[in-house]
Symmetry: C2
């Protein structure tokens, strides 16, 4: 109804909204998250600060919308496949669990190493750590959907007799995703395809000698 | 030599330094990290802002010193044993790898859930995600020492024939520490002793049905 009543105003709003989201992602790449400000976003988008504050409470909230609007990929960038892209799609199921997991985790590594994903996802994770409300939105919108898809894939493998009966699929998912996230966020050691493969192999076969 | 030349000045400096570090940890608990400022720390410590800036470039740098000075435990708080405390000590080695790992990971869970550890460690992790220099210091000073001790324990278990020959101890360490860090930082699901036990059991035996 509102759209019918004021189509021009609605189109202008959508143009402003897109300009703000684009500006937020551009400036994140140029300034880094600590130096990103609502003022800078407003100036780049060609809108007043108050326009931004009317729609979003903080720079983190702008960034979260910019990130999720793009399917985790900024304008013009072809995002590598990976965790952020799989919110809607089921994981591959060729019947070869190890191959499927390696494919998915290597794609996640590519994504985490790509600035188009790394910069906003890292900034939003950092903000979420000390801003529980934003953190809860980020986890619910960005992280949980692929984690649930992952658990579904492992449950299917459990039904097929490939995964042990007494395994909790959610724990198993975190066993492979946790180590990758750890290296990605904390930059302890290089995040490579070889690491993704080693995590999958170790998680599938276990650490014990038997 | 400087200490001998000006013992009173040196003692005054040490008193100011302690007052600043104490103030930083107190105010972190009261204000939260986003609202913590050098101004507030200076006022609480009874020193001028310039005194702080003479020694530290940022609030994060003050907090890192405060955190590492206390052995990861603020004034007056008896820190639960855990990752942050084990920088110097070897992990238990009773010969029962599963029991030893559960003991250590349950202690890490207690520590991550304790505000005296959680607040500064979470704030420093968040800052480190978007501030690579601070992040590198945090990882080198706080995270890597216990990860290396952990890897040593697994290497000993490998020498004793309990851990498979072809396992990379570092990957195995991240397989158990990564999931705990994931739940702690992202608050996806409750971080409990039961979860620590499930991670250890799944990592040791593997996900596969065999």
């Amino acid at each position: 109804m509102a759209d019918k009543a004021a189509p021009d105003s609605s189109r202008r709003s959508e143009r402003s909204r897109r300009a703000i989201l684009d500006a937020a992602l551009e400036l994140l790449g140029e300034l880094g998250y600590p130096r990103l400000t609502i003022e800078a976003i407003a100036a780049r988008a060609g809108v007043g600060k108050q326009t931004i504050y009317r729609w979003w409470p903080s720079k983190a909230a702008v960034l979260l919308d910019a990130f999720t609007d793009r399917g985790a990929s900024p304008k013009g960038a072809e995002a590598p496949e990976g965790v952020g892209q799989r919110a809607e799609a089921a994981l591959p199921d060729t019947g070869d669990l190890e191959a499927d997991l390696k494919l998915v985790l290597r794609a996640a590594v590519d994504q985490m190493n790509a600035p188009a994903y790394d910069l906003p996802a890292r900034a939003l994770t950092a903000e979420g750590l000390v801003n529980p409300e934003l953190g809860a939105h980020f986890v619910a919108q960005v992280l949980e959907p692929p984690l649930r898809q992952f658990a579904e894939r492992l449950r299917a493998a459990q039904d097929a007799g490939q995964v042990a009966r007494d395994i909790d699929p959610r724990v198993a998912v975190e066993l492979v995703c946790g180590p990758l996230t750890h290296r990605w966020l904390l930059r302890t050691l290089p995040l490579t395809h070889e690491y993704a493969d080693a995590v999958v192999e170790t998680a599938l076969r276990g650490i014990l000698n038997r």
